[in-house]
C-alpha cells in the first residue's frame, strides 16, 4: 500500500524544486491551486469532503511531478473532477471547466490548451497513476465531530470551539499538512488550537483513564506538545498570509497579544 506522508526534508526536495522552482514559489503554487479547488468546488455546491479530497490529490500529485511540467490550475480542475467521482458527487468535466474559466484570468486559463476537456481527460489518467489509484481519502472533519462528542463542558463553548477548528481544517488545506500528518493528528492539533484561542480548556472527557494526560491521549498515541505547536504554527502562518487573523481575533474576542503569542509559538 502506498504511504503518503513525508518529512520536512522531502517536502523541500520536491520535483518542482529539483527543476529550479524555489520552495517559497512552490508553496505559493500549492496554495493557489488548493484555494482554486476550494473556490471552484464551492461555486459548484460540492461538499467539503469532495473539495478536501481534490486538494489532497493535488498535493500528492506534486510530490511526483513538477509545477513546471504540469500547470497548477488544470491539475486542480482534474483533481476536483476525479474527487467528484470518488465521493459520488460527480460533475461533468465541461461544467468544471466552465466554472474554472469564470474564475481565472485569460492568461491563466490559457494553460488549459486548445482543447481543455481533452487535456483534463488525459491528465485524469496521469493523475490516477500518480496517486496509485489510492482514491479514498480521510479528512480531519469527521474526527473533529468524533472528538467533540467525548469532551465535557459548556455545550455552546464546545460548539464554538469545534466550529473554529473546522475553519482551521479548511485553512490547513492550503498547507502541506496533509502530506505530513494523518487526519486524526491534524484534527487533534486544530481542536487544541481552537480551544486555546477560544479560551476553552478541556478538563474532563468521557472515557477518561488515569493514564491520560490530555483528552487526545484517548484517540492518538504519542502526541507531543512540540508536534501540536508545529502543526498550529503552520496553520497560523497560513492565516496570516490570508490576512484573516484580524478577523479571527475580533470574532473570537481574544486579545491581539494573546494571538500574537500563539503566532510566536
Amino acid at each position: 500500500m502506498p504511504y503518503w506522508y513525508y518529512d520536512k526534508k522531502d517536502l523541500q526536495n520536491t520535483p518542482s524544486y529539483r527543476e529550479g522552482i524555489p520552495n517559497d514559489t512552490e508553496n505559493r503554487y500549492r496554495k493557489e491551486g488548493a484555494r482554486f479547488i476550494i473556490d471552484t468546488g464551492s461555486k459548484m455546491d460540492l461538499g467539503y469532503n469532495t473539495v478536501a479530497t481534490g486538494v489532497v490529490y493535488f498535493h500528492r500529485f506534486y510530490m511526483f511531478h513538477s509545477f513546471r511540467t504540469f500547470p497548477r490550475y488544470i491539475t486542480a480542475c482534474c483533481c476536483l473532477f476525479l474527487a467528484g467521482k470518488v465521493e459520488e458527487t460527480p460533475k461533468k468535466c465541461k461544467d468544471i471547466i466552465k466554472v474554472a474559466k469564470s474564475l481565472l484570468t485569460e492568461q491563466k486559463f490559457g494553460t488549459f490548451g486548445d482543447d481543455p476537456k481533452e487535456e483534463v481527460m488525459t491528465l485524469e489518467r496521469i493523475l490516477l497513476q500518480t496517486i496509485k489509484f489510492d482514491l479514498q481519502v480521510e479528512h480531519p472533519y469527521g474526527y473533529l465531530l468524533k472528538y467533540v462528542k467525548c469532551l465535557k463542558g459548556d455545550k455552546a463553548k464546545l460548539q464554538k470551539m469545534v466550529q473554529m477548528a473546522w475553519t482551521f481544517v479548511n485553512d490547513s488545506l492550503c498547507t502541506t499538512l496533509c502530506l505530513q500528518w494523518e487526519p486524526e493528528v491534524i484534527a487533534v492539533a486544530l481542536m487544541f488550537l481552537a480551544g486555546k484561542l477560544s479560551k476553552f480548556e478541556v478538563v474532563d472527557w468521557n472515557g477518561r483513564q488515569p493514564k491520560h494526560n490530555a483528552w487526545w491521549d484517548m484517540f492518538v498515541e504519542d502526541i507531543t506538545m512540540e508536534l501540536l505547536e508545529d502543526i498550529c504554527h503552520q496553520v497560523i502562518t497560513e492565516l496570516i498570509g490570508a490576512t484573516r487573523i484580524g478577523k479571527i481575533v475580533s470574532k473570537i474576542n481574544v486579545g491581539r497579544s494573546q494571538c500574537i503569542k500563539w503566532i510566536a509559538l
Binding site: 500547470p71 481527460m121 496521469i126 482514491l135 479514498q136
Partner: protein, 323 residues
C-alpha cells in the same frame, strides 16, 4: 499558447498532451506467463521488478472510457478495493497495486492492471489434487475461512456474485482467500464485449431467473462450495440455465407457487413438482451439523437464507467435537 511574461513563463507547457508523451512509467512488472483467461480479462503471473522479484498475479481489465473519462462505477469500485485493503483481512486476497497500461493517448479504453499477491493454487485444483477425502477438521477450517471472507465483503456492501472454487485461493498453509470480487460493474461492461462461458453451477435461482439479487447470492454459492468440500465434486453441475434450475429444484424441491417471483419469464409450471431430496443422501458421510448449516444456506427465497454472519455463528463452527 501562453507566451506569458510573468515569472512562470518558463513553467507553462502549452498542452498536457504534449507532456503526456514524456510521461512514461518505468517498467514495474515483468509478465511471465498467462495464469488464466476469464470472462473479465487475462491474469498473468508476473515479477515485481521493484520488489526483489516477488511473484505477483496481474489481472488485466479493459475499461471502456466514457465521454467523461474513467467511468464513475470503476472509480468507485477501485476506491473501495483500495480501502478494503487497509483491513488486510486474512481471507481476502491482497491487492498490492493498481496501475494502467500507460497508453495515455487511447481515448477509447484504458487498460487497468490490478496486482494481487500470487497464490499457487485455487480450490478447484486443490480438490482435484487431493489424494482422498479431506478431513473433517480441514473441511470445517476451510468453510470458516470462506464464510469469513464473504462476511467481510458483505459488511462492506460488496456482493461477490461469482463465487466458485476457481475464485477461492488456497495458500500453502491450507488457508482459503477470496479473490475476484468488487469489480462487478466494471466487469459488466467488459462482459458484453467477450463471450466466455460462465459456470452456472454455483448460481442461485434468483440469478438464473433474472430477478434482483443481493448478498444472499453469495451464501447460495458458498453452500455449493461447502458441499463440494465434503464430496469433492460439484453439487449442481448444470449444463445450461434451464438445466441448472431443474437440478436445483430436484435437490431442494420446487418452491411453492406463492414463493415464485413475479415478472419472471420462466413459468413455474415448466418444472415438475419436484419433491426435496435428502441432502444427506447427496453428500454421503456429512456430519449432522454441517448438513444443517448447508441446508440453511440452500433456501429458495433469498430473504430466508442464512446470512454469512449467521453461518459463522452456526453450531457447526461453535460446537466443539468433530469425529
Amino acid at each position: 499558447m501562453s507566451a506569458s511574461s510573468s515569472s512562470q513563463a518558463a513553467t507553462t507547457v502549452t498542452s498536457v498532451n504534449d507532456v503526456s508523451a514524456l510521461f512514461q512509467n518505468e517498467k514495474k512488472y515483468e509478465e511471465l506467463n498467462i495464469i488464466g483467461t476469464g470472462a473479465y480479462g487475462t491474469v498473468y503471473k508476473a515479477r515485481d521488478l521493484h520488489n526483489s522479484g516477488q511473484i505477483v498475479a496481474m489481472k488485466k481489465v479493459r475499461v471502456p472510457l466514457t465521454e467523461d473519462g474513467m467511468p464513475l462505477s470503476t472509480v468507485r469500485e477501485i476506491a473501495l478495493l483500495r480501502q478494503l485493503e487497509a483491513h488486510r483481512h486474512p481471507n481476502i486476497v491482497r491487492l498490492l497495486d493498481v496501475c494502467h497500461g500507460g497508453q495515455a493517448m487511447d481515448r477509447e479504453q484504458l487498460v487497468l492492471y490490478l496486482v494481487f499477491e500470487h497464490v499457487e493454487q485455487d480450490l478447484d485444483s486443490y480438490l482435484s489434487r487431493a489424494p482422498g477425502p479431506l478431513s473433517q477438521a480441514r473441511i470445517r477450517c476451510m468453510s470458516y475461512d470462506i464464510l469469513s471472507g464473504i462476511d467481510f465483503l458483505h459488511s462492506h456492501r460488496i456482493v461477490h456474485r461469482d463465487l466458485k472454487p476457481h475464485n477461492l485461493l488456497v495458500t500453502s498453509a491450507g488457508r482459503v482467500k477470496v479473490a475476484d470480487f468488487g469489480l462487478a460493474k466494471t466487469y459488466d461492461t467488459e462482459m458484453k464485449l467477450t463471450s466466455v462461458v460462465v459456470t452456472l453451477w454455483y448460481r442461485p435461482p434468483e440469478v438464473l431467473l433474472g430477478v434482483s439479487y443481493n448478498t444472499a447470492v453469495d451464501v447460495w454459492s458458498c453452500a455449493c462450495v461447502l458441499a463440494q468440500l465434503h464430496s469433492r465434486r460439484a453439487l449442481l453441475p448444470g449444463a445450461a440455465d434451464t438445466d441448472q434450475l431443474h437440478r436445483i429444484f430436484r435437490l431442494i424441491g420446487r418452491p411453492p407457487r406463492e414463493q415464485w417471483p413475479e415478472n419472471v419469464s420462466v413459468m413455474i409450471d415448466s418444472f415438475p413438482d419436484y419433491e426435496p431430496q435428502d441432502l444427506a443422501d447427496v453428500i454421503p458421510g456429512i456430519t449432522p451439523l454441517a448438513l444443517d448449516l448447508i441446508k440453511g444456506m440452500l433456501v429458495f427465497e433469498p430473504s430466508k437464507r442464512l446470512t454469512a454472519m449467521d453461518c459463522l455463528e452456526h453450531p457447526y463452527f461453535t460446537e466443539e467435537p468433530l469425529m
